[in-house]
Symmetry: C2
Subunit: 209 residues, 2 copies
């Protein structure tokens, strides 16, 4: 059995809350760009405008900061899928999900890259959350989509792979942002408007029965 990592200190005073937020935001910057092992406490401390020992006053270790970030953000990350409404108009619901998810890539690219780094490296710290709450949510929504397919409201598609494809296509614009921008350099200074049109067409055609 592995011991669970030491839990982060519970915030009490106002100043503690503020500093913890500052640290987590700086850590998100650093971890999302360099991965866990590629990031140093020095970088995070500098980004947060605090000293290294002061970081470790608020969090017991570098690992604890990373774990805290991942678990805090997991919830936000799943919100767009949670909002998929079984009672809504099927195709509109899925297209809205695509739009919300692309919006996350545009507005929260750091979060996307944080998760991408973690999963790419075998998801050592969020395996449990993936097999647990993430899988449960996906299975639940896949069942909804299967129902829509079955009654002919949308085309027949494998619902799990449909969800994967939405993740892949939208997160690509955050995770591979550098590459996308380098390739489009002389064409689109902001790839997102075109991406939105393209993905709308793609999923509209895919889902039309």
């Amino acid at each position: 059995m592995n011991a669970s990592p030491p839990a982060a200190k519970k915030p009490r005073t106002r100043i503690q809350k503020k500093n913890r937020k500052t640290i987590l935001d700086a850590a998100l910057d650093v971890f999302s760009q360099n991965g866990f092992r590629g990031s140093t406490l020095d970088q995070i401390a500098r980004a947060a405008g605090l000293s290294k020992p002061n970081l470790l006053y608020y969090f017991p270790s570098k690992e604890a900061i990373h774990v805290e970030l991942l678990s805090c953000l997991m919830d936000t990350w799943l919100d767009p899928l949670r909002a998929l409404d079984p009672a809504g108009e099927p195709k509109r619901e899925i297209l809205s999900y695509v739009r919300r998810k692309l919006g996350m890539s545009r507005d929260y690219p750091r979060e996307s890259r944080l998760f991408a780094n973690e999963i790419l490296q075998g998801a050592p710290r969020i395996r449990k959350a993936i097999r647990g709450e993430l899988k449960d949510l996906v299975d639940e929504k896949a069942e909804v989509i299967r129902g829509w397919s079955a009654r002919g409201a949308i085309a027949r598609v494998n619902p799990h792979h449909l969800i994967f494809s939405i993740w892949a296509l939208t997160q690509h614009y955050a995770d591979f942002d550098v590459q996308v921008r380098l390739i489009l350099e002389d064409r689109e200074s902001d790839p997102f408007p075109e991406a939105e049109r393209y993905l709308e067409t793609l999923f509209d055609k895919l889902l039309t029965p």
Copy 2:
């Protein structure tokens, strides 16, 4: 100006060639799973069955191994797109490209993750190749696809985003393999057959005029 990293030693004897290959293969294992900074020479040496100083007899530094890997593999990585034939039947050509690219994710997931790690972290070591040979190839093939669209052989789509979507959808099955398998655990032990069917349908519908 940055000095360019020292070039790797040119192989001369048979044993040198063999050892360099062993080292690069081991390094691919390690770098693709842990990223550059997350990997250590110890890990690579152990995986290669050589001592650490022996590694540094063949390559001047850890960085040199990484650079050599990336530049050796870039070519292989672009082969499927190079094979897209302007004289072929348009939809069939694109669907074949998708199939080849998905095959790369299945057969060479380490290479996919090596590039994903690199790009995710800002592509510090392959920026030039992206703006150069990669962009040139993409622009060239995008022009081919634009021609196919214009003459009505396939539907009207943004060719650059079409190429991005093929990358995103196929590489997802290599880069996020852990997540895909954890979620499909009780359904598909091998995600690739379903992925191939799903992607074939998706691109067929997207491209039909």
